[in-house]
Amino acid sequence: MAIISADANETIALIGARKARSNLTKARIRWVIAVLVAVFLVVCGRLVQLGYVDTDTTIEGQTRDLISATRPPILDRNGMEMAVDIRVPSLFAEPRRIIDVDEAVEKIRTVLPDLDRNWLRNRLEGNKGFVWIKRELTPAIEEKIMRLGIPGLDFLTESKRFYPGGSEASHILGAVNIDNQGIAGIERSMDKEDVALLQSIGLARGQALAPVNLSIDLRVQHAMHDQLADALVRYQAVAAAGAIMDIHTGEVIAMVSLPDFDPNDPSTALVEGRMNRITSGKFELGSTFKTIAFAAALDSGSVRIGDSFDARFGVRFGRFTIDDFHGKHRILSVPEIYKYSSNIGTIKMMQTMGKDNYRAFLTRLGFDDPLVTELPERTTTNVPKTFSEIVAATASFGHGLSITPMHMLAAYAALANGGNYITPTFYRRTPEEAQALYRRVVSPQTSAEIRSLMRLNALEGSGTRMNKLSDGYRVGGKTGTAEKVVNGRYVTNGLNLNVFASVFPLDAPEYAMIVLVDEPKRENAQSGDTAGWNAGEATGRIVARIAPMLGIAPNFDNSIDDRLVPNSMR
């Protein structure tokens, strides 16, 4: 350190050639490392960036999965297809890839001439990534468009719902919109349950979904549809509807409401008057209510089937007098009151039981609340909360309160099957499952008495026309000819709502049926216009056609009818 001079600020470094080379190498290595690190950083950055890119998989606001989503096939109880999915091509365009819009427009219109030229040009111009041109085409058209060789046009396979039966089961099945979402009927209720969820998470693709079995029997459905369409013409009615239910399991075997619509063309459902009259129409069902009143009275124990009531004079409420339509004006036994459909007798029976007991019985039959089945189409009932004397009197023969025909059908089923109420269903239900849901509404004895009354009415009362047509199938039922209420008043222009509620075969009851014919006219000059002539005859024709399908053999043995009569009636 002693030799440091004054100008020793400059350090003199002597580097050997070897060291110099070593330093140069180190510098080069550092550069290489730096470049490599930089390259890797760029690569990593790009990877992160790619990770953040949100590819647009939606098609005009919907995910691709939802568009190609399938729905489960709907089968009837015997495995016949009621609704199936077909895969159809849909034409879309990518406008940003189209070179010559005018040429494309002209070429497309050679295959699809119904497309509007200006609309199509507007659609294809611009810089969009995806526009639909026409959805749900046929494979033949797909082939033709492909042959045009226009860039930027392509097809996407969509699922389209197809209903091979056309309008036949329209009110049960409902319909789907163009995006394959249920908008009515069973289709809608399936969506509410789980299909929509499966579709949204993309599981419902291909043929993966297990088919859904309905309780409907397509053959019975067809026969009923056929006969009601016949009734519509034969009686020049404005509407006709009907439903059949298995009284032990509550399975609905068929349900028709005319006029109906074609589910393959859902917009036809919106036409006025095409609603489902069975589940979402409420009506005053007239004398079919007498069966309910009889069951209530007999089950309460205050009226016995052997009793008689004075039906000589009308019942007076203030300035109103209620009289009989088919007046006998004598003392009538309970079966006679039913047979002649005596309003006076029914009122007397209801009064013997007490109006509050009658009101409570209607609650027990579920007439207060909407009947909840799988169908979304349902409506509230219109039954007064409490009954005054006159309201109770009219309610005993079905005036002044309205329920849906489905309510009535379920009630008849309960009264005939031994007294167990079972909610109707459109899906399969085994007898064991049904028994777990049973709710007792009347005693088995009352049920037996009601069955014999219904059969008696078919043999001797207002159901004879029906019984002639369905001879041998032991059908019994009750007619109802109800004046229609327009703006809160009854209209007595001869246009009624005619109902026939029935059960068959009565020796071993299996099925309950209700048939409505709205505003029927006389078939010819000799015929009448009460329910026995139209709704009754239609019921008879339906039973004659469907009983063999349902495995019910005709039996002409008269002793069956005798055996139906319970001991209490002899």
Binding site: M80, E81, V84, D85, I86, R87, V88, P139, T157, F162, P164, G165, G166, E168, G206, Q207, L218, R219, Q221, H222, A223, H225, D226, S470, D471, G472, Y473, A544, R545, P548, A553, P554, F556
Partner: protein
């Protein structure tokens, strides 16, 4: 020593390179074959769905019913009547033992050249 090792390594690398490329191309080929098969499958599934729908449509009572109605006259069809339905129960059972006397009588009549089965046929002519 190192020289031989280098040669071995070089040859191995070349072999690996060729192998990897071969694998890559074969995978690409398989992938495109797979894509083609998938396309065929989806095409066939679409066709199948149409055929199934056709089958369902042709089997519908709604489709068969009108055809039957149209040919009612040609085929002489009539709705089934209740009286036409019966069960096996009402058909009398076969007798337990053969009726020997009747058989003897039949054979005797056949031997004498008199066939009882011919009688109704002759009535027709």
């Amino acid at each position: 020593m190192i020289r031989t090792l280098n040669i071995v390594f070089t040859l191995t690398s070349i072999a690996a390179l060729v192998g990897v490329y071969a694998l890559k191309y074969s995978v690409e080929e398989t992938a495109s074959a797979k894509a083609a098969i998938e396309h065929t499958i989806s095409r066939q599934e679409a066709d199948l769905s149409l055929l199934k729908a056709d089958w369902a449509y042709l089997n519908q009572p709604a489709h068969v019913g009108p055809i039957v109605t149209r040919h009612v006259d040609q085929l002489g069809l009539q709705p089934l009547k209740q009286a036409q339905i019966s069960s096996f129960d009402i058909i009398p059972m076969r007798p337990e033992a053969p009726d020997n006397d009747a058989m003897t009588a039949l054979f005797e009549s056949l031997e004498s050249g008199n066939d009882p089965a011919d009688a109704p046929l002759q009535g027709l002519q």
